[in-house]
């Protein structure tokens, strides 16, 4: 038998413990006939559809059909934990960032309390004041979103196709789904709206007379 090539996956457990031969050689080694096959692997076009196909195939055959989500249940469970942790980390970052904006706006409001009193004296309502500061808040939010988008586009253009040892595909797993962008925008908008709303509500209740008396 000749070695005709070496395949490296990057995982030494696989690389040191596995070799590949064509199927008739394998049948000869096992001293079985040409009709002997122990396992058939099949790819579906869409990985998410695998379990659906396995159900259908199971109806056609008496052999055991198992899709990859069942085979790799432990890996998938790990994946779930990992993404839960990612969400928790993202959420903490989001919270820290929004507190930053909350502080900026609280300081602005303290500084502009005179101006707020003037606006109220000339007929602007508390709701107007809240609107103004929520608007400032969400401006911060959309600014941050645009920065993120610029960074994302840059990294996608320059680094997405670079070879790394990440996963078996060898390149960064970049997924550009519209819903991801919408999600990012929603959180940026919503969290900065809150960061604007709470200090603004305080400002809206300012009594102009108490300011003018000072």
């Amino acid at each position: 038998m000749n070695i005709v090539g070496i395949l490296e996956t990057g995982s030494s457990m696989i690389d040191n413990g596995k070799s590949f031969v064509n199927i008739s050689t394998a049948q000869q080694l096992l001293k079985k006939g040409t009709s002997y096959v122990s396992t058939i692997y099949a790819n579906t076009k869409d990985v998410e559809n695998a379990s659906l196909f396995s159900q259908r195939l199971q109806q056609l055959t008496k052999y055991k059909v198992e899709d990859w989500t069942v085979t790799n249940a432990d890996l998938l469970a790990g994946d779930k934990t990992r993404s839960a942790m990612m969400s928790a980390i993202s959420l903490s970052i989001l919270l820290v960032a929004s507190f930053g904006i909350y502080n900026i706006l609280s300081a602005t409001i303290a500084q502009k309390i005179n101006d707020i009193a003037i606006l109220k004296a000339t007929g602007y309502t508390g709701t107007d004041v809240i609107f103004i500061f929520c608007n400032r808040g969400t401006n911060h939010g959309t600014d941050r979103y645009n920065n993120w988008l610029a960074f994302w586009s840059w990294i996608n253009r320059n680094h997405a196709k670079k070879f790394t040892w990440v996963a078996l595909s060898g390149i960064f797993p970049f997924i550009s789904k519209v819903e991801y962008f919408l999600q990012v925008f929603f959180w940026a908008f919503f969290i900065t709206l809150c960061a604007g709303f709470f200090p603004a509500r305080k400002a809206a209740n300012v009594d102009p007379v108490s300011i003018f008396r000072k």
């Binding site: 101006d115 007929g123 309502t125």
Partner: protein, 237 residues
Amino acid sequence: MHIKSTVLEVREISKYFTDPVKFQVLKNVSFQAYEGEFLTLIGKSGSGKSTLLYCLSSMDTLYEGELYICGTKLTGLKSNQLARIRNEKIGFVFQFHYLLPEFSCLKNVMLPALKLGKHSPKEIEERAYQKLEILDLKDQALKPASKLSGGQQQRVAIARALINDPKLIMCDEPTGNLDSKNTQIVFDIFQQISKENNQTIIAVTHDMDFARNSDRTIEMADGTIVSNGNGFNLRSE
């Protein structure tokens, strides 16, 4: 003398401060102001003039008694309703020229009109230019308010008070920080708008000449009105 309609009616207004000790600042103050009248309010420092003016302007709602502006009872209205009335019917000029410092003079003048929303922004800008012109400030329109002198800022504040053509203009010592030349300018403007536009002006002042030349003067002492008009109105004598 022909009868003019009442723009402002104050019925038995009393007000207390509780901090640091309870004391009565305003004691059953009652008076009326008529259309096109230029009214001044005088009295020693601490006699309650500013406090009264804040009540009349609807910004201060913690008082007893009743307040009517153009026939509408303001006492007991919600703060958003009061803001609306203040925006439309009352122009207020503060003792210290309170402008938004980063905004241009033009924008400062436009603000109450933008809130009222009766005209398009384009028309509002034109009207703001007109008001600034009346106050001889047209060439300063695009400067930030903080870059103007005290007298100029005071006049911008007056232009802002005029922008919505309010029935009532209230001023707390509008000339307190002005030299005699600027005081004269402000006086002439008040005289002009009360006579030509039939707007009512109530101005707190320390300046006796200013008071003497107005249509009527109310004098306050210790939270009550001690003299109302006639004796003071030297112009009719």
